[in-house]
Subunit: 569 residues, 2 copies
C-alpha cells in the first residue's frame, strides 16, 4: 500500500478524552475514528489489524472442531423472554419494533438464537457435542463508553456455543476453549490470568475470565502469591475473628447522642474500631423487592456477590429515599432486622461477639448484638468485597493484592439455563427427550486490539506483535536529487510484495525524514526499512526494528530473507 | 469436512412458502435457516458460499483501488436529517433510541456515515479521488420479505463510496465499478443486463442497475432488439399520435348519463377507444401535497416517474377518500384542472386532438379538450409506464419486451446530494472550499447467491459455479463389508486436502447410496467422487460432474490433477 494513497493517515490532533494509550494511538495512527459515543469506524489500517485478529481466532476455533455460522443481528424479543434473559440484561439491551409491531433486541450475546436454531434440527445424542461459533456485531448500551476500543457500545465478537449430552461432555469442550484462548493470547503476546468469575446476565453454573493486567483496566483482580486469582465478584478471603475471647453479653438498647450518624461517628463515640459495628446496605431488585445486605462495619458489600447469594431476578439498584420511606425508615436508620425486606448476611457476622448497632433510632442504638442469637438473615454467605491485604481464601496465609485488568475473553458453563427455559431437547439412547447441557465462549476483537496496545507501546506509539501488524514492513523513502533512488524504492516495494511480504510504502516526496520516522513509530509496524541516497551509497537499506533503537544496513539482495526470517521466528 | 459432523445437514421438510428454487434448495440443502420473517441464519455450508462471494468481490474492489473500512451499524439520526434522507427512506428505515435518548437508525445504506467520516480528515484535492468500501450488515424493513435471500430485511452488502473533485473524475471511477461489477457477475456465471435507472431514496443524478433475468424476479425490464434496456422506472417509449389529422374543436360541457363511471363505460358510451380520453391518478407526498398525474386513457402512471418529474419529497402514497374530500371532489370525479393540487402531465397529453373528459360531474363531462389550449399542468414529462409492445424510445422502431429480473447490483452517480446537504468540502488548488462530487455502489451478498441458484439448478438441487461452491469435491463413500474400503476413502480424503482441494466427505456408514447421491445433488458441489468396493475393483473412483449425468472412472493417482485441472479452467 502506498501511504500517499492510504485513506486515514496519521493525525496530530486527538480528543482530550483520549487518555489511555490505545485510544490515543489508534486515533492518531489512523486506525479508527469515532462517529458517535462508543461507536467507531475502522479505517483501512485498523480493519487490517482486526481482520488478522479475526483470522487468527478462526484458525484456533477450527482447530478445536468448532464450525462457523452466523445468526441474524435482530433477535425476536420473545426468545429472550422465553429464556428469562430480557430482564437480566436490563437497559444495556437495545430494543426496537419493526413497522408491523414485532419487537426485537439488537444482539448483545446470542445464546437464545443458537438454541432456537439448534432446536430446528431435532438432534439425537449421536449428533452431539455440537460446537459452533460466529463473528458478529454485538450491541451493548453501556452506561459509559471508555478508552475507545476498551469499552464500546458496538463491537465484533467471536462468540462460541456448545451443546452436550451432559456436563462431562461440556467439560471436555470447555477445556478445549480454555486452551484455545490461551493460544490466542499467546499469539497476541498477551499474558493472561484466568480467574473464576460470576456468570452475570449470561446465567449458568460457573465461568472463567481471561484477564490482561493493565493500569487502564476497569476490572480488578485479587491475586495471591499462592497462585490464587479471582475477580472481585468472586474473590474469597478470610474474615478474621475480631474478639473471639469475649463472652456474649445481654443485648441492650442504649441512648446515643444525636450527632452519631456515620461509621466514623460511631468509632469516635464508642472508642472501638469499625469491625465492632453492624452495617446495612440497601438495594432493590427489578421486581421491587428490597434487599438489605448486613455486614461487618469494616467491610463493603459487593453487589454481584449479594445478588448471587440472594438469587436476584435482575440487576440490583441502590435503594432510594422513597424505597426506604416505604419501609418506614430512612438512610442511616435502617435496622438489621424487622423491615419488610429480604436480609442477606455476610460471613463476617459470625466473627464478632457483641456487635454494636443494628437498631438505630434518633438517639438510641442497640449493643451486644450477636448473630444467631439476636437476629438471623434470610440468606447468609459471602457478600463482602475483598480488599488489598485481606487474607487469601485459598491458602489462608498470603495477602491478596488488587490489580487492575481488562477482561479479554470469557468461557461459561451455562448448564441447563437456556435449554430448560426454552425446552431445547435431544433424543437420548433410550429415545427419550433430554435437555442440552450448554457452554458459551466469547472474545471481543476490538478489545483484544486495545489490550495489545496497552501492553505494547512506548511514548512514540504502538509496537505491534508480528501476528497482527497491519503490514510486515514500513518502507520509508527519502526524497533525493538523484531520481534513481525513487526507482530503487519502487523496485524494493514490488520485490518485497512478490515475496508475500506486506509493505506500507511511505512514498510521499514532500515529507521530511523526521516526520516519516515519527509516523512510522506511531503506526508501529515491527520492521522499518529506510531507503535513501545515503543508504544506497552504503550498499543497501537501513533496517530498524520498532522495539529497538539500533538500525543495521541490509543489502537489497538479502532483504526478503531477513524479513521472512524475522516473521517466521 | 466430514459430513457426519457437519452442523446443518440436508432436510426433507421445507416451508410451504418456499416456492422459488433458491429458497427451497438453500433451506433443504442446509445452507440457511429462517429465524424470523426475512431474517436468516447462515449455516456452515451457506456461510462458506457467502464468504467466497465476499472474497471474490473484495478482490475485484482491490483491483480498482478501493480501500476497505467499516463504519458503525447504528447511525446517529441527525446525520440522516442533515442529508434530508430520513424522510426519503421512510418506514423501511428502522429506528431506536438508546438509554440516554439519542436516536439512531440501523444502517440501510451508509452515504451519510461515509461523508461524516471523510469530513473529519480535512482533505485537499491532492487526496482525491477517494474510493472506499465496506462489507456490513444492512437493515431494511421491507413491507414484504420474499424468496429467502432474494429479499430479506437484514443482509450483508458490499457498499462502496467515492469522493471526487468533479463529475469527470467520478465518471472514471464509475466506469471502474461498472467493469468490476461485470467481472463479479462473470465469475458468478451470471448474465447481467445493465440498465439506467432511477436513483430513488439514495438521491443524485443518474444510476445503473445490474439486472439478472429470472422468472422469480420482482423487477421488470423493458428490452428492445436494438439493445435498449431499462427498468420500468425509466423506460422510454414512443407515444403514437392518435388523431393527428383531426382539427381542434371548441371545448364543450356535455351531459352524460349517470352510469358512465369507468374508462370502460366511457368507451361504451362514446364509441371511442381508450386513447381518446383523459385520465387522472392522484397521489400524496409526505408533506401532504396532493399530486395529480394527468395521462392519456390507455396508459398508466408510473409512480417513480411521476415523483421524479414533480420532484417529490418522499415516497408518494395513493390519495385517500379523505384527501379527495378536502379537494372538494371524490374518486372518478377528479378534474384535470382547477383543484388545489400539483398537476403533472404526461407526454401523451400532446398526442390527442379533442380529448374527452377532464371535468366530470354527476351527469356532465367536457369534450374537445386540448392540452395547452384548454388546460396546462404545472409539470410536464414522461410519467407513463412502458407496456409490452410499446415502441422503443431509443430506436423508435422496435417493440419493447417486458422481462422479469432481479437487481443484482447498482451504481449511483449521486453528485452533490450529500456533500451539499452535509457541507462536506475539500480544499481546491486555489485554497478554496469545494463540495465533493460523489458516487455510491452496492451489491448484496445473499441476493447474489440467490441469483446464482435461480439460474443454476435443476429439479434435484443446486449446480454451483466453480467460483463459489462450498467445497470443490463431494466425496461419497459407500459402506462395504471389506474394511479396507473405508481406509482408502480416508486416504483419498486426506490426500485431496493436502493438494489444497476442499472436500466434503460423506462418511456416514448407515446411509444408502441413493440417499447420499440425492443429498449430493441437492447440495450441488460441481464434482462428486464415489468410492466403493465396486469402484476400487474397477481401479479407482467414479467421478461425476454435477452438470452431467455421465460418470467416469479415475485412478486414485490421477484424482488431484483431474480436479485441479477442472477448477483451473
Amino acid at each position: 500500500m502506498r501511504y500517499s494513497k492510504l485513506f486515514g493517515k496519521v493525525s496530530k490532533t486527538v480528543s482530550k478524552q483520549a487518555i489511555v494509550a490505545s485510544h490515543r494511538f489508534l486515533v492518531q495512527g489512523g486506525f479508527i475514528r469515532r462517529i458517535s459515543s462508543g461507536r467507531y469506524a475502522f479505517l483501512p489500517l485498523g480493519l487490517r489489524v482486526r481482520r488478522k485478529v479475526e483470522n487468527m481466532i478462526r484458525q484456533e476455533m477450527v482447530k478445536i472442531g468448532a464450525q462457523e455460522l452466523v445468526v441474524p443481528t435482530l433477535h425476536p424479543i420473545e426468545l429472550w423472554q422465553q429464556a428469562n434473559r430480557d430482564q437480566k440484561f436490563g437497559p444495556s439491551m437495545m430494543r426496537l419494533k419493526d413497522r408491523r409491531g414485532a419487537e426485537f433486541t439488537l444482539g448483545a450475546t446470542a445464546e437464545v438464537m443458537m438454541v432456537e436454531l439448534v432446536k430446528q434440527f431435532n438432534l439425537s445424542y449421536k449428533d452431539l457435542p455440537i460446537n459452533i461459533f460466529q463473528f458478529s456485531q454485538k450491541f451493548r448500551d453501556e452506561v459509559r463508553a471508555s478508552g475507545a476500543l476498551l469499552r464500546t457500545r458496538e463491537f465484533i465478537m467471536k462468540d462460541g456455543y456448545s451443546f452436550h449430552v451432559d456436563e462431562d461432555s461440556l467439560k471436555q469442550t470447555y477445556q478445549l476453549y480454555w486452551q484455545a484462548y490461551l493460544n490466542i493470547a499467546k499469539q497476541l503476546d498477551l499474558e493472561v490470568t484466568v480467574v473464576e468469575s460470576d456468570n452475570g446476565a449470561i446465567g449458568g453454573m460457573i465461568s472463567h475470565e481471561f484477564m490482561v493486567e493493565t493500569d487502564v483496566g476497569e476490572d480488578v483482580l485479587a491475586k495471591c502469591d499462592c497462585g490464587y486469582s479471582a475477580n472481585l465478584e468472586t474473590a474469597k478471603f478470610v474474615r478474621k475473628q475480631v474478639n473471639p475471647d469475649e463472652k456474649p453479653k445481654k443485648m441492650e438498647i442504649v441512648s446515643q447522642p444525636e450527632w452519631v450518624m456515620t461509621m466514623e461517628d460511631n468509632v469516635k463515640h464508642y472508642g472501638k474500631s469499625k469491625d465492632h459495628f453492624l452495617k446495612n446496605v440497601v438495594y432493590k431488585d427489578i421486581d421491587g423487592t428490597i434487599i438489605i445486605g448486613v455486614i461487618r462495619g469494616d467491610l463493603s458489600v459487593n453487589k454481584t456477590k449479594l445478588a448471587n447469594v440472594y438469587g436476584a431476578k435482575g440487576e440490583l439498584e441502590p435503594a432510594t429515599d422513597e424505597d426506604l420511606a416505604k419501609l418506614g425508615t430512612k438512610f442511616g436508620w435502617v435496622h438489621c432486622w424487622g423491615h419488610k425486606a429480604v436480609y442477606v448476611g455476610d460471613l463476617s457476622l459470625k466473627t464478632v461477639v457483641n456487635f454494636i448497632g443494628g437498631q438505630k433510632e434518633k438517639d438510641t442504638d442497640s449493643i451486644n448484638v450477636n448473630y444467631g442469637r439476636d437476629f438471623e438473615c434470610d440468606f447468609f454467605g459471602d457478600i463482602a468485597e475483598a480488599e488489598a491485604g485481606a487474607i487469601c481464601g485459598q491458602c489462608n496465609k498470603g495477602k491478596l493484592r488488587l490489580v487492575k485488568c481488562v477482561e479479554f475473553g470469557n468461557i461459561f458453563n451455562i448448564g441447563y439455563t437456556y435449554s430448560q427455559a426454552m425446552d431445547a431437547n435431544f433424543i437420548d439412547q433410550d429415545n427419550h427427550q433430554q435437555k442440552f447441557y450448554m457452554g458459551s465462549y466469547g472474545i471481543g476483537l476490538g478489545r483484544a486490539m486495545a489490550c495489545v496496545i496497552e501492553t505494547h507501546h512506548d511514548d512514540k506509539g504502538i509496537i505491534w506483535p508480528k501476528s497482527i501488524t497491519p503490514y510486515h514492513v514500513h518502507l520509508v523513502y527519502l526524497n533525493s536529487s538523484d531520481p534513481t533512488v525513487l526507482g530503487k524504492a519502487e523496485q524494493v516495494y514490488q520485490d518485497l510484495q512478490k515475496a508475500d511480504i506486506e509493505v506500507l510504502f511511505d512514498d510521499r516526496p514532500d515529507v521530511s525524514a523526521g516526520s516519516k520516522f515519527a509516523d512510522a513509530d506511531l503506526i508501529g509496524i515491527p520492521v522499518r526499512l529506510l531507503i535513501s541516497q545515503r543508504s544506497l551509497d552504503k550498499g543497501g537499506l537501513e533496517l530498524k526494528y520498532r522495539h529497538s533503537s539500533e538500525s543495521e544496513l541490509i543489502p537489497i539482495s538479502d532483504l526478503s530473507k531477513v524479513i521472512l526470517d524475522f516473521y517466521k521466528k
